[in-house]
Amino acid sequence: MILFENVSKTYKGNIPALRDASFEIDKGEFVFLVGPSGSGKTTLIRLLLREELPDSGRIWVAGKDIIRLGHWKVPYLRRNLGCVFQDFRLLPSKTVAENVAFALEVIGRPAHVIRLQVPQVLDLVGLGAKASAYPHELSGGEQQRVAVARAFVNRPLILLADEPTGNLDPKTSLGIMRLLDRINRTGTTVVIATHDSGIVDRMRRRVIELRDGEVIRDQERGVYGYGT
């Protein structure tokens, strides 16, 4: 599903963000990307979304070489990748349902599909009752659930999450992780970049650890780290 082959990326004038990173993630896997800030986790996600291009190496997503992907095809790549961020990125002027519907509207889904899909996905994330609330009326955990709903409503092949629990307390974080786990069980590949060691240790899933842009560990059923 995701294949990195010797990927390197250096931002202008800085130390390398990724150095010769190689790994493979299969369909339906649940993977934690761990490592301290600046270890290259966010760069990796930006590369997957093709917000950046690597300096060298190749990246395959869903059987496609996304580096050679034409500029105009990038939107179609992103339709296969749902994405959740630490800061939620909800639209404050839209209700919960409108925020989720927006993701379908702008990729040209017809209204009857939207009417059907939005309540379904809101029920999945446990916010069926708050469809007409505005983001500022929700707690952080609820806002992140909306963001997950928006990322998942189009049934992407892969769900990416960049520090999804960074702004949340441990209990709420666990709730979000359970939700992502539930989504993973529908067959969606889930990749979570995090430095929340408590969560990683508790979930016991595959862990890819990055340090200074290098993959230093790739472990099935791993924990956050030895002594970090």
Binding site: R89, P92, F102, V106, I107, R150
Partner: protein
């Protein structure tokens, strides 16, 4: 890709409403600039109209003596035809000249009643290749045997042309400056609109909206602004036409300005042209803004 009209119109209208003040400023600037273009075009049309209208493009009238002999008439004709500046001439005999006189002075019967047909001079009316040669041709014929006088009302027309040329240059330069500022204003309005919607745009990119899907509402916004300005200019041009027509249009055939009134259909055509220029310009400047401020 499904880019529904409903979505685009909804987004465009919402955005226009959000930036009301800037939108109005942009539309007015477009309108003033295009009105100037329109007036310059009207004037150009009017002047060329006036030139043509003077007796079907006749530039020079050579009046012969009422007593001119056939030989003298023929000599005058030959001299005219030998000049390369002269395109064609036609001879108006006494009877025809008298008829025209009756027409021209229809309101003053005493003028033509005081003369008999025999006293009316026959004339050669000549069309020149270039109207500016009228003076030269006239001077060549002046004083020839049998020639009474040469009239080249080109004089007024030449003056009118010169004046209108200067006016057109002034209007067009003003229009060009205003056009540029209109372009910048529209682009700036679009830039503000993009800024106001940067969160939406970020989400749209994230969930895989195509570039055109993101761009089209902004382009439409610019197009609407340009078109609105163009339509205001169209209105101004039509109003000007009506005003001109109602004040000068009935001043009588002798008034040279009367010839400046161009047909309503031409006015409408100029108006439509101006509106189309507005729409194209609006779309172009929003494209400019999108290229610079919307990294998609």
């Amino acid at each position: 890709m499904a880019l529904s009209t409903r979505y685009v119109s909804k987004e465009t209208l919402a955005s226009l409403r959000r930036n009301r003040l800037m939108t109005v400023a942009a539309i007015l600037t477009v309108a003033v600039s295009l009105s100037l273009v329109g007036v310059a075009l009207l004037l150009q049309q009017g002047v060329s109209n006036a030139t043509v209208r003077w007796s079907n493009g006749v530039n020079v009238a050579v009046f012969l003596q009422a007593s001119a002999t056939p030989a003298e008439t023929l000599a005058a004709h030959q001299q005219l035809m030998s000049m390369p500046e002269v395109k064609r001439c036609y001879y108006m005999d006494k009877k025809e000249s008298y008829q025209q006189m009756r027409q021209l002075y229809a309101n003053q019967p005493d003028v033509y009643q005081s003369v008999t047909i025999n006293e009316v001079p026959p004339a050669y009316r000549c069309v020149l290749t270039n109207a500016n040669d009228a003076v030269m041709v006239g001077q060549a014929l002046q004083g020839e045997p049998g020639v009474r006088n040469v009239v080249y009302p080109g004089q007024e027309i030449t003056t009118m042309r010169k004046v209108s040329f200067v006016v057109q240059v002034i209007f067009m330069s003003l229009a060009a400056v205003l056009f540029l500022s209109a372009l910048v204003l529209v682009a700036n309005t679009i830039r503000l609109a993009i800024f106001a919607r940067r969160r939406e745009v970020a989400v749209m990119k994230l969930v895989g909206a195509t570039n055109w899907f993101i761009r089209v509402p902004f382009m439409m916004e610019g197009l609407v602004q340009g078109l609105a300005g163009g339509l205001v200019a169209l209105g101004a041009i039509v109003l000007l036409h009506w005003g001109f027509e109602s004040t000068i249009g009935h001043a009588g055939a002798q008034n040279i300005f009367q010839a400046l009134v161009i047909p309503t259909s031409s006015t409408i055509l100029i108006g439509v042209l101006v509106a189309v220029i507005g729409a194209v310009m609006g779309a172009l400047s929003s494209l400019l803004a999108i290229r610079r401020f919307l990294a998609v």
